[in-house]
């Protein structure tokens, strides 16, 4: 007998939705629900989370129907590099200033693909950093420091 093959896409989506709905129900458990004519702050969250929970369970149940499509394999390099680039910006922008944060962000993002050439990437990062400083600080007057404080 063959083993039951689950549809991984439905399974993962269902699990995600159930988790979100459960989290929302937990986070809003103390809010008063009230009733339709006099809705409390918890009314809408309760209704929407329960509906979402229903959908999550539906997808979980549907995943048992068997695999209809496969998930393309996840490649970690682009995922991690792009997320790290954003993270580094968030960590450094206010402390080290826009100039340095921009260079770091562009360099890290460049790691996402093997095609990046180190020298070209460095030069491009400096260029973009200068451009960003000019556009966002000089022209648009964004209140963000340019250099480390």
């Amino acid at each position: 007998m063959t083993r039951l093959r689950l549809d991984r896409r439905d399974l993962l989506l269902g699990a995600f939705l159930v988790a979100v709905a459960a989290g929302a129900l937990y986070a809003t458990r103390t809010l008063s629900v009230g009733h339709a004519a006099d809705m409390g702050p918890g009314y809408m969250p309760r209704v929407v989370s329960l509906a979402l929970l229903g959908f999550g369970l539906f997808f979980l149940a549907r995943s048992a129907r068997g695999a209809t499509a496969t998930i393309e394999p996840v490649r970690l390099r682009p995922l991690l590099a792009v997320l790290a680039a954003v993270g580094v910006f968030a960590l450094t922008a206010e402390r080290l200033g826009l100039a340095i944060a921009s260079v770091l962000t562009v360099l890290l993002a460049g790691l996402a693909t093997r095609e990046t050439k180190p020298l070209e990437s460095m030069g491009f990062a400096l260029l973009l950093s200068a451009l960003a400083a000019l556009l966002f600080i000089k022209v648009l007057a964004l209140p963000i420091p340019l250099w480390p404080r």
Partner: protein, 499 residues
């Protein structure tokens, strides 16, 4: 004639020098991102939103609208020359447009695409002007009850008419609604799902959500695919179509415009659905359907007219009812609200300059696109030679700075990071995030109207069915949902979307 008065007010706004400038900037940016595959109008508009704060509302809307329809123009250039759709709406143009290019008729294909778009843009501008007044008048009769039903219809229709599984899209709408509830509840002052984070008390900003899910997640997914982009490097000649070509293309243009205008007004409409329908229609009407896919001129004219008409008429629900037809219009609503303007039927009376200015600017913008795009075609083609390895780090950086700029908060950058990860997860499990954005923007309104409707009716749900307009809207919702469940329609829809 009230119509002419309105259009005159609009033209006087749109032709102000600074607004002409904003319009030009908008259509140029739009064309550029349209030409480049991998960047769509949604992250671009999200990115530029923070910089429209300091602008007058009319100028801001004119520029953002220009980006949207400019992108439709640019998308077809890439489709014809490189056989890669610059935007989803130009997928169909690849079929015959690229074949024409390979036969040495690239110039003709580009010219026909531009002319069709211009023709459709002109007609669609008139359609918007004609329909806006009666629709807005009707909308003034609406109470909270009707609005609630209308919002429900908008959300459901957006799901049904969009690509992909209906159940998945519905779940995305709900997720968006849930995210829209985050923040301080306006009527009770209670904090909901803020987890003690002060930055969350005003609710989730939709810009980081849009940029993360549409911009960054797309980049990550693009990088996973092997890079394959080869520009057809040939001199583009023969831009002036012959009389015979025009005669062959014109009926398709007219039909495409009509179809696009009608489909664009529907909630969930916009630029994606009309070209597919138009291509199918042209193929069905043609005496010799086998020419399609081998460089049929109608296969370029019809869909190009349809996508441009659809892109423009999808502004009607936004301008008259304050309800976005798709995720992009949701961003436009956000732009209005950031300017302190509450979208809804009252803006036609209170802000005629704004509304008619935007409408008239669409025609002006289309004219600009026609005039600047054909001579500049070489420039746009050379943009395609920018390697993606340089393009994407720049986009990542500008997304970071842009997100920070909305409220000068690093929290939004972290939020974007989280949304990028979730957006990537959604791509992997095959869900479209567009309905989520719609739910996020409409969530607070939906709750407010529901609350008011229930106050009016004293908690009696039947009020939604006893009021005629509201009942009519809900009947349409029921029909749409019933249709989606019937196996025959499901099969037909799959076929239509596959074509």
């Amino acid at each position: 004639m009230e119509l002419f008065d309105n259009l005159l007010i609009g033209l006087s706004t749109a032709l102000e020098l600074k607004n002409l400038g904003f319009c030009l900037i908008g259509v140029l940016i739009g064309t550029a991102i349209g030409v480049l595959p991998g960047i769509g109008p949604i992250p671009t508009i999200a990115l530029l939103l923070p910089f429209t704060f300091g602008m007058e509302p009319a100028g801001a809307m004119i520029m953002l609208a220009g980006i949207f329809y400019g992108a439709q123009y640019g998308g077809s250039t890439t489709a014809i020359l490189v056989n890669v759709p610059g935007e989803t709406s130009s997928v169909v143009t690849c079929l015959d447009g690229h074949q024409m290019a390979r036969q040495g008729r690239a110039g003709l294909a580009l010219a026909i695409a531009a002319l069709s778009s211009f023709f459709a843009g002109t007609v669609a501008t008139i359609v918007i002007a004609l329909l806006s007044v009666p629709l807005a008048a009707l909308a003034l009769k609406f109470t909270a009850v009707e609005y609630f039903s209308l919002l429900v219809l908008g959300l459901i229709a957006a799901v049904v008419l969009a690509h992909g599984s209906v159940a998945r899209s519905l779940s995305m709408v709900l997720l968006g609604l849930l995210l829209g509830l985050v923040g301080i509840d306006v009527s009770s002052g209670a904090a909901r799902m803020t987890f003690g984070v002060p930055a969350l008390s005003d609710g989730l900003d939709f810009v980081p959500v849009a940029m993360g899910m549409f911009g960054l997640a797309e980049i990550i997914a693009n990088l996973e695919r092997p890079a394959e982009r080869h520009v057809v490097s040939q001199a583009v000649r023969g831009l002036i179509p012959s009389w015979a070509d025009l005669k062959q293309a014109f009926p398709a243009m007219v039909r495409g415009t009509a179809l696009g205008s009608a489909l664009g007004v529907l909630p969930g409409g916009g630029a994606a659905l009309p070209p597919f329908s138009s291509y199918a229609l042209e193929k069905k009407l043609a005496k010799d359907p086998s020419r399609f896919g081998h460089g049929a001129i109608e296969g370029v004219a019809g869909p190009e007219a349809a996508n441009n008409a659809g892109a423009q008429t999808s502004f009607i629900p936004l301008l008259t009812l304050g309800i976005p037809a798709n995720a992009l219009m949701a961003l436009m609503i956000g732009a209005l609200m950031m300017q302190g303007i509450q979208p809804g039927p009252q803006i036609m009376r209170e802000q005629p300059q704004l509304v008619w200015g935007v409408i008239a600017s669409m025609w002006v913008g289309n004219l600009m696109l026609l005039v600047i795009n054909l001579p500049l075609i070489g420039l746009w083609v050379s943009m395609l030679r920018i390697p993606y390895r340089l393009l994407f780090p720049a986009i990542v950086l500008f997304c970071c700075i842009g997100t920070y700029g909305i409220s000068n908060s690093l929290f939004n950058v972290w939020l974007m990071l989280g949304c990028a990860a979730i957006g990537y997860f959604f791509i992997k499990v095959g869900v479209e995030p567009a309905p989520l954005l719609l739910g996020l923007v409409l969530g607070p309104q939906l709750e407010e109207y529901f609350r008011r409707a229930m106050l009016l009716a004293d908690g009696d749900f039947s009020v939604f069915l006893t009021r005629p307009i509201s009942a009519g809207l809900l009947v349409v919702v029921a029909l749409l949902l019933a249709a989606m469940l019937s196996p025959m329609v499901v099969r037909g829809r799959k076929q239509a979307l596959a074509e």
